[in-house]
Symmetry: C2
Subunit: 299 residues, 2 copies
Amino acid sequence: MDNLTRLGIDIGGTFIKFAVLKNGEILYKDQIPTNQESDIKLLGEITEKAKEIIKDYSIERIGVGVPGRIENGTVLSGNLPFKYTPVEKILKDAFSPIPVTVQNDANCAALGEALFGAGEKCENVVLVTLGTGIGGGIILERKIAPGNKCMGEIGHMIVMAKGGRECPCGLSGCWEQYASVTALIRQATETALLNKQDLLYKKYTENGEKLDGKLIFDAFDEGSACAVKVISDYIDWLKVGIESLVKIFAPDSIILAGGITKQGDKLLGELNKRANIRETKIEISHLQNDAGSLGAAML
Amino acid sequence: MDNLTRLGIDIGGTFIKFAVLKNGEILYKDQIPTNQESDIKLLGEITEKAKEIIKDYSIERIGVGVPGRIENGTVLSGNLPFKYTPVEKILKDAFSPIPVTVQNDANCAALGEALFGAGEKCENVVLVTLGTGIGGGIILERKIAPGNKCMGEIGHMIVMAKGGRECPCGLSGCWEQYASVTALIRQATETALLNKQDLLYKKYTENGEKLDGKLIFDAFDEGSACAVKVISDYIDWLKVGIESLVKIFAPDSIILAGGITKQGDKLLGELNKRANIRETKIEISHLQNDAGSLGAAML
Protein backbone atom coordinates (compact mmCIF):
# COMPACT_ATOMS: atom_id res chain seq x y z
CA MET A 1 0.00 0.00 0.00
CA ASP A 2 1.31 3.46 -0.90
CA ASN A 3 1.16 6.32 1.63
CA LEU A 4 -0.93 8.73 -0.43
CA THR A 5 -3.78 10.60 1.24
CA ARG A 6 -6.88 9.40 -0.54
CA LEU A 7 -10.49 10.54 -0.65
CA GLY A 8 -13.18 7.98 -1.45
CA ILE A 9 -16.69 9.10 -2.42
CA ASP A 10 -19.53 6.60 -2.62
CA ILE A 11 -22.62 8.04 -4.34
CA GLY A 12 -25.66 6.11 -3.14
CA GLY A 13 -29.35 6.64 -3.72
CA THR A 14 -29.91 8.07 -0.22
CA PHE A 15 -26.51 9.19 1.04
CA ILE A 16 -23.18 10.20 -0.38
CA LYS A 17 -20.38 8.85 1.79
CA PHE A 18 -16.93 10.38 2.09
CA ALA A 19 -13.85 8.73 3.61
CA VAL A 20 -10.23 9.86 3.85
CA LEU A 21 -7.63 7.09 3.99
CA LYS A 22 -3.90 7.11 4.50
CA ASN A 23 -1.79 3.99 4.94
CA GLY A 24 -4.99 1.99 5.24
CA GLU A 25 -6.18 4.08 8.17
CA ILE A 26 -9.44 6.07 8.16
CA LEU A 27 -8.67 9.72 8.98
CA TYR A 28 -12.16 11.07 8.33
CA LYS A 29 -15.67 9.84 7.55
CA ASP A 30 -18.89 11.72 6.80
CA GLN A 31 -22.00 11.60 4.67
CA ILE A 32 -24.49 14.01 3.10
CA PRO A 33 -27.97 13.27 1.72
CA THR A 34 -28.18 12.59 -2.02
CA ASN A 35 -29.77 15.39 -3.99
CA GLN A 36 -31.76 13.50 -6.60
CA GLU A 37 -33.05 16.66 -8.36
CA SER A 38 -30.50 16.82 -11.15
CA ASP A 39 -27.03 15.65 -12.05
CA ILE A 40 -25.70 19.21 -11.87
CA LYS A 41 -27.04 19.80 -8.35
CA LEU A 42 -25.84 16.40 -7.18
CA LEU A 43 -22.33 16.90 -8.51
CA GLY A 44 -22.32 20.49 -7.20
CA GLU A 45 -23.00 19.35 -3.64
CA ILE A 46 -20.39 16.62 -3.88
CA THR A 47 -17.81 19.10 -5.16
CA GLU A 48 -18.55 21.58 -2.40
CA LYS A 49 -18.18 18.98 0.35
CA ALA A 50 -15.09 17.43 -1.23
CA LYS A 51 -13.35 20.80 -1.57
CA GLU A 52 -13.59 21.31 2.21
CA ILE A 53 -12.11 17.87 2.78
CA ILE A 54 -9.35 18.45 0.24
CA LYS A 55 -8.35 21.63 2.05
CA ASP A 56 -8.25 19.95 5.45
CA TYR A 57 -6.41 16.78 4.41
CA SER A 58 -4.21 17.64 1.39
CA ILE A 59 -5.85 14.93 -0.69
CA GLU A 60 -3.65 13.38 -3.41
CA ARG A 61 -6.09 10.97 -5.07
CA ILE A 62 -9.88 10.88 -5.43
CA GLY A 63 -11.94 7.79 -6.23
CA VAL A 64 -15.68 7.82 -6.83
CA GLY A 65 -18.11 4.92 -6.79
CA VAL A 66 -21.34 5.34 -8.78
CA PRO A 67 -24.17 2.83 -9.29
CA GLY A 68 -25.00 2.04 -12.88
CA ARG A 69 -23.27 1.39 -16.17
CA ILE A 70 -20.09 3.40 -16.62
CA GLU A 71 -17.98 3.74 -19.74
CA ASN A 72 -14.80 5.79 -19.76
CA GLY A 73 -15.94 7.74 -16.73
CA THR A 74 -19.36 8.53 -18.18
CA VAL A 75 -22.37 7.18 -16.28
CA LEU A 76 -24.72 5.84 -18.95
CA SER A 77 -27.64 4.85 -16.76
CA GLY A 78 -28.60 3.79 -13.26
CA ASN A 79 -30.83 4.86 -10.37
CA LEU A 80 -29.36 8.35 -9.97
CA PRO A 81 -30.15 11.43 -12.09
CA PHE A 82 -27.21 10.56 -14.35
CA LYS A 83 -27.81 9.85 -18.00
CA TYR A 84 -24.72 9.98 -20.16
CA THR A 85 -23.23 12.30 -17.54
CA PRO A 86 -19.43 12.59 -17.88
CA VAL A 87 -18.97 12.35 -14.10
CA GLU A 88 -15.23 11.69 -14.24
CA LYS A 89 -14.53 14.64 -16.53
CA ILE A 90 -16.67 17.03 -14.46
CA LEU A 91 -14.97 16.03 -11.22
CA LYS A 92 -11.51 16.07 -12.78
CA ASP A 93 -12.12 19.66 -13.90
CA ALA A 94 -13.41 20.56 -10.43
CA PHE A 95 -10.49 19.04 -8.51
CA SER A 96 -7.64 19.53 -10.97
CA PRO A 97 -4.73 18.69 -10.60
CA ILE A 98 -5.78 15.85 -8.27
CA PRO A 99 -6.36 12.64 -10.27
CA VAL A 100 -9.97 11.41 -10.16
CA THR A 101 -11.20 7.90 -11.04
CA VAL A 102 -14.84 6.85 -11.34
CA GLN A 103 -15.87 3.19 -10.97
CA ASN A 104 -18.98 1.14 -10.53
CA ASP A 105 -20.00 1.19 -6.85
CA ALA A 106 -20.23 -2.60 -6.54
CA ASN A 107 -16.64 -2.91 -7.70
CA CYS A 108 -15.61 -0.23 -5.19
CA ALA A 109 -17.36 -2.09 -2.38
CA ALA A 110 -15.71 -5.33 -3.44
CA LEU A 111 -12.31 -3.64 -3.41
CA GLY A 112 -13.01 -2.19 0.03
CA GLU A 113 -13.92 -5.62 1.39
CA ALA A 114 -10.94 -7.26 -0.28
CA LEU A 115 -8.47 -4.75 1.14
CA PHE A 116 -9.92 -3.91 4.56
CA GLY A 117 -12.88 -6.19 5.29
CA ALA A 118 -14.02 -9.79 5.08
CA GLY A 119 -11.74 -10.49 2.13
CA GLU A 120 -8.57 -9.27 3.75
CA LYS A 121 -5.73 -11.65 2.89
CA CYS A 122 -7.76 -12.95 -0.09
CA GLU A 123 -6.40 -12.55 -3.60
CA ASN A 124 -9.66 -13.17 -5.43
CA VAL A 125 -13.04 -12.11 -4.14
CA VAL A 126 -16.59 -11.92 -5.45
CA LEU A 127 -18.87 -9.54 -3.56
CA VAL A 128 -22.56 -10.40 -3.84
CA THR A 129 -24.90 -7.59 -2.79
CA LEU A 130 -28.40 -8.79 -1.95
CA GLY A 131 -31.05 -6.11 -2.23
CA THR A 132 -33.74 -5.09 -4.70
CA GLY A 133 -31.63 -7.00 -7.21
CA ILE A 134 -28.29 -8.76 -6.89
CA GLY A 135 -25.14 -6.79 -7.60
CA GLY A 136 -21.66 -8.08 -8.03
CA GLY A 137 -18.12 -6.82 -7.62
CA ILE A 138 -15.17 -8.85 -8.78
CA ILE A 139 -11.65 -8.59 -7.40
CA LEU A 140 -8.87 -10.55 -9.06
CA GLU A 141 -5.38 -10.48 -7.57
CA ARG A 142 -6.46 -7.74 -5.15
CA LYS A 143 -7.56 -5.40 -7.93
CA ILE A 144 -10.91 -4.65 -9.56
CA ALA A 145 -11.14 -7.13 -12.45
CA PRO A 146 -9.96 -5.69 -15.74
CA GLY A 147 -12.31 -5.86 -18.70
CA ASN A 148 -15.47 -4.12 -19.67
CA LYS A 149 -16.72 -1.75 -16.97
CA CYS A 150 -20.19 -3.29 -17.33
CA MET A 151 -18.85 -6.69 -16.31
CA GLY A 152 -20.26 -8.38 -13.22
CA GLU A 153 -24.02 -8.38 -13.68
CA ILE A 154 -24.11 -11.60 -11.73
CA GLY A 155 -27.75 -11.13 -10.74
CA HIS A 156 -28.59 -11.97 -14.35
CA MET A 157 -26.91 -15.34 -14.59
CA ILE A 158 -29.68 -17.65 -15.75
CA VAL A 159 -30.35 -20.30 -13.12
CA MET A 160 -33.68 -21.56 -14.47
CA ALA A 161 -33.39 -22.01 -18.21
CA LYS A 162 -36.81 -23.64 -18.53
CA GLY A 163 -39.90 -22.17 -16.94
CA GLY A 164 -37.93 -19.40 -15.29
CA ARG A 165 -39.46 -16.13 -14.10
CA GLU A 166 -39.29 -13.25 -16.54
CA CYS A 167 -36.81 -10.53 -15.63
CA PRO A 168 -37.09 -6.87 -16.65
CA CYS A 169 -33.62 -7.25 -18.19
CA GLY A 170 -35.20 -9.20 -21.04
CA LEU A 171 -33.99 -12.64 -20.01
CA SER A 172 -35.90 -15.28 -18.05
CA GLY A 173 -34.78 -17.26 -15.03
CA CYS A 174 -32.18 -14.74 -13.80
CA TRP A 175 -30.67 -15.43 -10.39
CA GLU A 176 -32.02 -12.22 -8.88
CA GLN A 177 -35.56 -13.33 -9.68
CA TYR A 178 -35.04 -15.97 -6.97
CA ALA A 179 -32.27 -14.83 -4.63
CA SER A 180 -32.68 -11.05 -4.26
CA VAL A 181 -34.42 -9.66 -1.17
CA THR A 182 -37.26 -8.64 -3.49
CA ALA A 183 -37.65 -12.30 -4.45
CA LEU A 184 -37.57 -13.41 -0.82
CA ILE A 185 -40.32 -10.92 0.08
CA ARG A 186 -42.43 -11.92 -2.92
CA GLN A 187 -42.14 -15.61 -2.05
CA ALA A 188 -42.91 -14.95 1.62
CA THR A 189 -45.95 -12.84 0.72
CA GLU A 190 -47.32 -15.52 -1.60
CA THR A 191 -46.78 -18.17 1.06
CA ALA A 192 -48.37 -16.04 3.81
CA LEU A 193 -51.48 -15.42 1.72
CA LEU A 194 -51.91 -19.17 1.21
CA ASN A 195 -51.39 -19.93 4.92
CA LYS A 196 -53.50 -17.49 6.90
CA GLN A 197 -53.16 -19.52 10.11
CA ASP A 198 -49.40 -19.00 10.09
CA LEU A 199 -47.59 -16.33 12.08
CA LEU A 200 -46.11 -14.96 8.87
CA TYR A 201 -49.58 -13.91 7.72
CA LYS A 202 -50.11 -12.18 11.08
CA LYS A 203 -46.92 -10.19 10.58
CA TYR A 204 -48.07 -9.35 7.07
CA THR A 205 -51.45 -7.96 8.17
CA GLU A 206 -50.02 -6.14 11.22
CA ASN A 207 -47.55 -4.38 8.96
CA GLY A 208 -50.17 -2.93 6.62
CA GLU A 209 -50.29 -5.94 4.28
CA LYS A 210 -46.65 -6.00 3.42
CA LEU A 211 -43.54 -7.88 4.50
CA ASP A 212 -39.86 -7.00 4.60
CA GLY A 213 -36.72 -9.03 5.19
CA LYS A 214 -36.63 -8.34 8.90
CA LEU A 215 -40.26 -9.37 9.47
CA ILE A 216 -39.68 -12.66 7.65
CA PHE A 217 -36.70 -13.45 9.86
CA ASP A 218 -38.64 -12.34 12.95
CA ALA A 219 -41.35 -14.86 12.03
CA PHE A 220 -38.62 -17.47 11.53
CA ASP A 221 -37.26 -16.74 15.02
CA GLU A 222 -40.74 -17.04 16.49
CA GLY A 223 -41.29 -20.45 14.92
CA SER A 224 -43.39 -19.74 11.82
CA ALA A 225 -43.40 -22.89 9.70
CA CYS A 226 -43.97 -20.77 6.59
CA ALA A 227 -40.99 -18.54 7.34
CA VAL A 228 -38.79 -21.58 7.94
CA LYS A 229 -39.80 -23.01 4.58
CA VAL A 230 -39.45 -19.72 2.68
CA ILE A 231 -36.02 -18.99 4.15
CA SER A 232 -34.84 -22.53 3.52
CA ASP A 233 -35.89 -22.29 -0.14
CA TYR A 234 -34.26 -18.88 -0.38
CA ILE A 235 -30.97 -20.29 0.88
CA ASP A 236 -31.18 -22.98 -1.81
CA TRP A 237 -31.47 -20.29 -4.46
CA LEU A 238 -28.57 -18.35 -2.98
CA LYS A 239 -26.54 -21.55 -2.97
CA VAL A 240 -27.05 -22.21 -6.69
CA GLY A 241 -25.69 -18.84 -7.78
CA ILE A 242 -22.80 -19.03 -5.36
CA GLU A 243 -21.84 -22.47 -6.68
CA SER A 244 -21.84 -21.08 -10.22
CA LEU A 245 -19.71 -18.09 -9.20
CA VAL A 246 -17.21 -20.43 -7.54
CA LYS A 247 -16.88 -22.43 -10.77
CA ILE A 248 -16.55 -19.30 -12.90
CA PHE A 249 -14.17 -17.24 -10.73
CA ALA A 250 -12.65 -19.77 -8.29
CA PRO A 251 -12.42 -16.99 -5.67
CA ASP A 252 -10.89 -17.42 -2.22
CA SER A 253 -13.94 -15.77 -0.79
CA ILE A 254 -17.54 -14.97 -1.69
CA ILE A 255 -18.67 -12.04 0.44
CA LEU A 256 -22.37 -11.36 0.96
CA ALA A 257 -23.51 -7.81 1.60
CA GLY A 258 -26.79 -5.94 1.99
CA GLY A 259 -29.16 -5.39 4.89
CA ILE A 260 -30.34 -8.98 4.94
CA THR A 261 -26.86 -10.23 5.86
CA LYS A 262 -27.40 -8.75 9.33
CA GLN A 263 -29.19 -12.07 9.91
CA GLY A 264 -25.70 -13.53 10.08
CA ASP A 265 -25.49 -17.18 10.87
CA LYS A 266 -29.13 -17.88 10.05
CA LEU A 267 -28.09 -17.36 6.44
CA LEU A 268 -24.43 -18.23 6.53
CA GLY A 269 -24.63 -21.39 8.65
CA GLU A 270 -27.05 -23.14 6.32
CA LEU A 271 -25.38 -21.83 3.18
CA ASN A 272 -22.03 -23.20 4.26
CA LYS A 273 -23.63 -26.53 5.11
CA ARG A 274 -25.39 -26.89 1.75
CA ALA A 275 -23.04 -25.31 -0.76
CA ASN A 276 -20.65 -27.55 -2.66
CA ILE A 277 -17.75 -25.17 -3.10
CA ARG A 278 -14.50 -26.80 -1.98
CA GLU A 279 -11.87 -24.19 -1.06
CA THR A 280 -13.96 -21.01 -1.28
CA LYS A 281 -15.19 -19.44 1.94
CA ILE A 282 -18.58 -17.71 2.11
CA GLU A 283 -18.53 -14.71 4.43
CA ILE A 284 -20.60 -11.73 5.38
CA SER A 285 -19.39 -8.22 4.65
CA HIS A 286 -17.47 -6.65 7.53
CA LEU A 287 -17.65 -3.09 6.26
CA GLN A 288 -21.22 -3.05 4.88
CA ASN A 289 -22.09 0.61 4.14
CA ASP A 290 -18.48 1.75 4.42
CA ALA A 291 -17.11 -0.72 1.87
CA GLY A 292 -17.89 1.55 -1.09
CA SER A 293 -16.19 4.73 0.11
CA LEU A 294 -13.12 2.85 1.40
CA GLY A 295 -12.82 0.93 -1.85
CA ALA A 296 -13.31 4.10 -3.91
CA ALA A 297 -10.48 5.75 -2.00
CA MET A 298 -8.17 2.97 -3.16
CA LEU A 299 -9.00 3.25 -6.88
CA MET B 1 3.49 -6.84 -29.83
CA ASP B 2 7.20 -7.36 -29.03
CA ASN B 3 9.54 -8.86 -31.63
CA LEU B 4 10.70 -11.85 -29.58
CA THR B 5 10.90 -15.25 -31.21
CA ARG B 6 8.40 -17.37 -29.33
CA LEU B 7 7.68 -21.10 -29.17
CA GLY B 8 4.17 -22.21 -28.24
CA ILE B 9 3.46 -25.81 -27.22
CA ASP B 10 -0.09 -27.09 -26.90
CA ILE B 11 -0.26 -30.46 -25.14
CA GLY B 12 -3.45 -32.21 -26.22
CA GLY B 13 -4.75 -35.71 -25.57
CA THR B 14 -3.87 -36.92 -29.08
CA PHE B 15 -1.30 -34.50 -30.45
CA ILE B 16 1.24 -32.03 -29.13
CA LYS B 17 1.35 -28.97 -31.34
CA PHE B 18 4.33 -26.67 -31.77
CA ALA B 19 4.35 -23.20 -33.31
CA VAL B 20 7.06 -20.59 -33.66
CA LEU B 21 5.91 -16.98 -33.81
CA LYS B 22 7.69 -13.71 -34.41
CA ASN B 23 5.96 -10.36 -34.84
CA GLY B 24 2.67 -12.22 -35.01
CA GLU B 25 3.84 -14.30 -37.96
CA ILE B 26 4.00 -18.10 -37.92
CA LEU B 27 7.54 -19.20 -38.83
CA TYR B 28 7.04 -22.90 -38.11
CA LYS B 29 4.30 -25.38 -37.22
CA ASP B 30 4.43 -29.09 -36.43
CA GLN B 31 2.88 -31.73 -34.23
CA ILE B 32 3.84 -35.07 -32.64
CA PRO B 33 1.55 -37.74 -31.17
CA THR B 34 0.97 -37.54 -27.42
CA ASN B 35 2.71 -40.28 -25.47
CA GLN B 36 0.19 -41.08 -22.77
CA GLU B 37 2.38 -43.71 -21.05
CA SER B 38 3.82 -41.52 -18.33
CA ASP B 39 4.51 -37.90 -17.49
CA ILE B 40 8.27 -38.48 -17.78
CA LYS B 41 8.02 -39.98 -21.29
CA LEU B 42 5.59 -37.29 -22.41
CA LEU B 43 7.76 -34.44 -21.17
CA GLY B 44 10.87 -36.19 -22.56
CA GLU B 45 9.44 -36.28 -26.07
CA ILE B 46 8.31 -32.65 -25.84
CA THR B 47 11.76 -31.60 -24.67
CA GLU B 48 13.50 -33.47 -27.46
CA LYS B 49 11.31 -31.90 -30.17
CA ALA B 50 11.49 -28.45 -28.64
CA LYS B 51 15.29 -28.56 -28.42
CA GLU B 52 15.50 -29.04 -32.19
CA ILE B 53 13.20 -26.08 -32.73
CA ILE B 54 15.11 -23.91 -30.25
CA LYS B 55 18.32 -24.62 -32.15
CA ASP B 56 16.81 -23.74 -35.53
CA TYR B 57 14.96 -20.60 -34.46
CA SER B 58 16.86 -19.04 -31.51
CA ILE B 59 13.76 -19.14 -29.35
CA GLU B 60 13.54 -16.45 -26.65
CA ARG B 61 10.29 -17.39 -24.85
CA ILE B 62 8.41 -20.66 -24.42
CA GLY B 63 4.75 -20.97 -23.49
CA VAL B 64 2.98 -24.25 -22.82
CA GLY B 65 -0.74 -25.00 -22.71
CA VAL B 66 -1.88 -27.99 -20.67
CA PRO B 67 -5.41 -29.24 -20.04
CA GLY B 68 -6.42 -29.55 -16.40
CA ARG B 69 -6.02 -27.68 -13.16
CA ILE B 70 -2.72 -25.86 -12.83
CA GLU B 71 -1.31 -24.15 -9.77
CA ASN B 72 2.02 -22.35 -9.86
CA GLY B 73 3.10 -24.32 -12.90
CA THR B 74 2.18 -27.70 -11.38
CA VAL B 75 -0.51 -29.69 -13.19
CA LEU B 76 -2.74 -31.07 -10.45
CA SER B 77 -5.08 -33.19 -12.54
CA GLY B 78 -6.59 -33.55 -15.99
CA ASN B 79 -6.82 -36.06 -18.83
CA LEU B 80 -3.07 -36.44 -19.36
CA PRO B 81 -0.70 -38.59 -17.29
CA PHE B 82 0.04 -35.57 -15.08
CA LYS B 83 -0.75 -35.73 -11.38
CA TYR B 84 0.91 -33.06 -9.30
CA THR B 85 3.57 -32.91 -12.02
CA PRO B 86 5.66 -29.71 -11.79
CA VAL B 87 5.56 -29.25 -15.56
CA GLU B 88 6.79 -25.66 -15.50
CA LYS B 89 9.78 -26.43 -13.27
CA ILE B 90 10.78 -29.50 -15.34
CA LEU B 91 10.63 -27.56 -18.62
CA LYS B 92 12.39 -24.53 -17.12
CA ASP B 93 15.25 -26.79 -16.08
CA ALA B 94 15.33 -28.38 -19.53
CA PHE B 95 15.34 -25.12 -21.50
CA SER B 96 17.22 -22.82 -19.13
CA PRO B 97 17.90 -19.90 -19.52
CA ILE B 98 14.82 -19.46 -21.79
CA PRO B 99 11.80 -18.41 -19.71
CA VAL B 100 8.96 -20.96 -19.70
CA THR B 101 5.34 -20.33 -18.70
CA VAL B 102 2.67 -23.00 -18.32
CA GLN B 103 -1.04 -22.16 -18.56
CA ASN B 104 -4.36 -23.87 -18.90
CA ASP B 105 -4.93 -24.83 -22.55
CA ALA B 106 -8.38 -23.21 -22.78
CA ASN B 107 -6.88 -19.89 -21.70
CA CYS B 108 -4.11 -20.31 -24.29
CA ALA B 109 -6.65 -21.00 -27.01
CA ALA B 110 -8.66 -17.97 -25.93
CA LEU B 111 -5.55 -15.80 -26.07
CA GLY B 112 -4.71 -17.16 -29.53
CA GLU B 113 -8.19 -16.34 -30.80
CA ALA B 114 -8.13 -12.91 -29.18
CA LEU B 115 -4.79 -11.98 -30.72
CA PHE B 116 -4.87 -13.70 -34.10
CA GLY B 117 -8.29 -15.20 -34.71
CA ALA B 118 -11.99 -14.46 -34.41
CA GLY B 119 -11.40 -12.09 -31.51
CA GLU B 120 -8.85 -9.92 -33.24
CA LYS B 121 -9.51 -6.27 -32.41
CA CYS B 122 -11.57 -7.37 -29.36
CA GLU B 123 -10.47 -6.32 -25.88
CA ASN B 124 -12.54 -8.85 -23.97
CA VAL B 125 -13.28 -12.34 -25.18
CA VAL B 126 -14.79 -15.52 -23.79
CA LEU B 127 -13.87 -18.70 -25.66
CA VAL B 128 -16.40 -21.51 -25.27
CA THR B 129 -15.11 -24.92 -26.31
CA LEU B 130 -17.87 -27.42 -27.03
CA GLY B 131 -16.79 -31.03 -26.72
CA THR B 132 -17.14 -33.85 -24.21
CA GLY B 133 -17.72 -31.04 -21.73
CA ILE B 134 -17.65 -27.27 -22.10
CA GLY B 135 -14.39 -25.47 -21.50
CA GLY B 136 -13.82 -21.77 -21.14
CA GLY B 137 -11.01 -19.32 -21.65
CA ILE B 138 -11.34 -15.72 -20.55
CA ILE B 139 -9.45 -12.79 -22.03
CA LEU B 140 -9.77 -9.36 -20.41
CA GLU B 141 -8.07 -6.38 -21.98
CA ARG B 142 -6.25 -8.68 -24.41
CA LYS B 143 -4.65 -10.75 -21.64
CA ILE B 144 -5.58 -14.01 -19.96
CA ALA B 145 -7.77 -12.98 -17.01
CA PRO B 146 -5.86 -12.58 -13.79
CA GLY B 147 -7.06 -14.52 -10.75
CA ASN B 148 -7.04 -18.11 -9.73
CA LYS B 149 -5.66 -20.41 -12.44
CA CYS B 150 -8.65 -22.69 -11.95
CA MET B 151 -11.01 -19.88 -12.95
CA GLY B 152 -13.23 -20.34 -15.98
CA GLU B 153 -15.06 -23.61 -15.44
CA ILE B 154 -17.98 -22.15 -17.33
CA GLY B 155 -19.35 -25.59 -18.22
CA HIS B 156 -20.40 -25.86 -14.59
CA MET B 157 -22.53 -22.76 -14.34
CA ILE B 158 -25.86 -24.03 -13.07
CA VAL B 159 -28.57 -23.38 -15.65
CA MET B 160 -31.25 -25.67 -14.19
CA ALA B 161 -31.39 -25.15 -10.45
CA LYS B 162 -34.48 -27.34 -10.01
CA GLY B 163 -34.72 -30.79 -11.53
CA GLY B 164 -31.37 -30.44 -13.29
CA ARG B 165 -29.28 -33.38 -14.48
CA GLU B 166 -26.62 -34.57 -12.09
CA CYS B 167 -23.08 -33.73 -13.12
CA PRO B 168 -19.98 -35.74 -12.15
CA CYS B 169 -18.60 -32.47 -10.70
CA GLY B 170 -20.97 -32.89 -7.77
CA LEU B 171 -23.45 -30.19 -8.76
CA SER B 172 -26.73 -30.61 -10.65
CA GLY B 173 -28.01 -28.72 -13.66
CA CYS B 174 -24.57 -27.67 -15.00
CA TRP B 175 -24.55 -26.07 -18.43
CA GLU B 176 -22.43 -28.82 -19.96
CA GLN B 177 -25.08 -31.37 -19.06
CA TYR B 178 -27.21 -29.67 -21.74
CA ALA B 179 -24.95 -27.85 -24.16
CA SER B 180 -21.85 -30.05 -24.58
CA VAL B 181 -21.56 -32.28 -27.63
CA THR B 182 -21.98 -35.23 -25.27
CA ALA B 183 -25.33 -33.78 -24.22
CA LEU B 184 -26.38 -33.24 -27.85
CA ILE B 185 -25.55 -36.85 -28.71
CA ARG B 186 -27.37 -38.17 -25.64
CA GLN B 187 -30.46 -36.16 -26.47
CA ALA B 188 -30.35 -37.21 -30.12
CA THR B 189 -29.95 -40.86 -29.18
CA GLU B 190 -32.89 -40.75 -26.77
CA THR B 191 -35.02 -39.04 -29.40
CA ALA B 192 -33.99 -41.49 -32.14
CA LEU B 193 -34.90 -44.49 -29.98
CA LEU B 194 -38.38 -43.06 -29.42
CA ASN B 195 -38.89 -42.30 -33.14
CA LYS B 196 -37.82 -45.34 -35.10
CA GLN B 197 -39.51 -44.12 -38.26
CA ASP B 198 -37.21 -41.05 -38.33
CA LEU B 199 -34.09 -40.78 -40.43
CA LEU B 200 -32.09 -40.09 -37.27
CA TYR B 201 -32.80 -43.63 -36.07
CA LYS B 202 -31.63 -45.00 -39.42
CA LYS B 203 -28.33 -43.13 -39.04
CA TYR B 204 -28.07 -44.50 -35.52
CA THR B 205 -28.50 -48.13 -36.55
CA GLU B 206 -26.32 -47.81 -39.66
CA ASN B 207 -23.51 -46.45 -37.50
CA GLY B 208 -23.43 -49.42 -35.11
CA GLU B 209 -26.06 -48.06 -32.72
CA LYS B 210 -24.36 -44.81 -31.96
CA LEU B 211 -24.54 -41.21 -33.09
CA ASP B 212 -22.00 -38.43 -33.30
CA GLY B 213 -22.27 -34.69 -33.92
CA LYS B 214 -21.74 -35.01 -37.65
CA LEU B 215 -24.41 -37.70 -38.12
CA ILE B 216 -26.94 -35.57 -36.26
CA PHE B 217 -26.27 -32.61 -38.55
CA ASP B 218 -26.30 -34.91 -41.59
CA ALA B 219 -29.79 -36.05 -40.56
CA PHE B 220 -30.75 -32.38 -40.10
CA ASP B 221 -29.54 -31.60 -43.64
CA GLU B 222 -31.52 -34.54 -45.00
CA GLY B 223 -34.71 -33.33 -43.36
CA SER B 224 -35.04 -35.47 -40.23
CA ALA B 225 -37.74 -33.92 -38.05
CA CYS B 226 -36.09 -35.40 -34.98
CA ALA B 227 -32.71 -33.90 -35.84
CA VAL B 228 -34.34 -30.51 -36.44
CA LYS B 229 -35.98 -30.64 -33.03
CA VAL B 230 -32.88 -31.90 -31.20
CA ILE B 231 -30.64 -29.26 -32.76
CA SER B 232 -33.15 -26.50 -32.10
CA ASP B 233 -33.34 -27.48 -28.43
CA TYR B 234 -29.55 -27.70 -28.29
CA ILE B 235 -29.24 -24.15 -29.61
CA ASP B 236 -31.63 -22.99 -26.88
CA TRP B 237 -29.34 -24.51 -24.27
CA LEU B 238 -26.29 -22.93 -25.86
CA LYS B 239 -28.10 -19.59 -25.86
CA VAL B 240 -28.82 -19.68 -22.13
CA GLY B 241 -25.20 -20.10 -21.12
CA ILE B 242 -24.03 -17.51 -23.62
CA GLU B 243 -26.54 -15.00 -22.27
CA SER B 244 -25.22 -15.61 -18.75
CA LEU B 245 -21.60 -15.20 -19.88
CA VAL B 246 -22.49 -11.92 -21.55
CA LYS B 247 -24.00 -10.60 -18.30
CA ILE B 248 -21.03 -11.80 -16.24
CA PHE B 249 -18.14 -10.75 -18.51
CA ALA B 250 -19.68 -8.24 -20.93
CA PRO B 251 -17.23 -9.41 -23.61
CA ASP B 252 -16.93 -7.91 -27.08
CA SER B 253 -17.01 -11.42 -28.47
CA ILE B 254 -18.03 -14.93 -27.48
CA ILE B 255 -16.08 -17.37 -29.61
CA LEU B 256 -17.29 -20.93 -30.04
CA ALA B 257 -14.75 -23.68 -30.73
CA GLY B 258 -14.72 -27.45 -31.06
CA GLY B 259 -15.45 -29.85 -33.92
CA ILE B 260 -19.16 -29.15 -33.87
CA THR B 261 -18.60 -25.51 -34.85
CA LYS B 262 -17.67 -26.75 -38.33
CA GLN B 263 -21.45 -26.70 -38.81
CA GLY B 264 -21.03 -22.95 -39.04
CA ASP B 265 -24.15 -21.01 -39.77
CA LYS B 266 -26.48 -23.86 -38.86
CA LEU B 267 -25.44 -23.14 -35.28
CA LEU B 268 -24.44 -19.52 -35.47
CA GLY B 269 -27.34 -18.20 -37.53
CA GLU B 270 -29.99 -19.43 -35.11
CA LEU B 271 -27.94 -18.54 -32.04
CA ASN B 272 -27.55 -14.97 -33.18
CA LYS B 273 -31.26 -14.80 -33.94
CA ARG B 274 -32.34 -16.10 -30.54
CA ALA B 275 -29.74 -14.76 -28.10
CA ASN B 276 -30.51 -11.56 -26.23
CA ILE B 277 -27.01 -10.16 -25.92
CA ARG B 278 -26.89 -6.55 -27.07
CA GLU B 279 -23.36 -5.53 -28.08
CA THR B 280 -21.60 -8.89 -27.88
CA LYS B 281 -20.89 -10.78 -31.11
CA ILE B 282 -21.04 -14.57 -31.22
CA GLU B 283 -18.46 -16.01 -33.56
CA ILE B 284 -16.88 -19.29 -34.51
CA SER B 285 -13.20 -19.91 -33.88
CA HIS B 286 -10.99 -19.02 -36.84
CA LEU B 287 -7.93 -20.88 -35.63
CA GLN B 288 -9.59 -24.00 -34.16
CA ASN B 289 -6.78 -26.52 -33.46
CA ASP B 290 -4.04 -23.91 -33.86
CA ALA B 291 -5.47 -21.50 -31.28
CA GLY B 292 -3.77 -23.24 -28.35
CA SER B 293 -0.20 -23.28 -29.66
CA LEU B 294 -0.40 -19.71 -30.99
CA GLY B 295 -1.83 -18.48 -27.70
CA ALA B 296 0.77 -20.42 -25.70
CA ALA B 297 3.52 -18.74 -27.72
CA MET B 298 2.22 -15.35 -26.56
CA LEU B 299 2.16 -16.19 -22.84
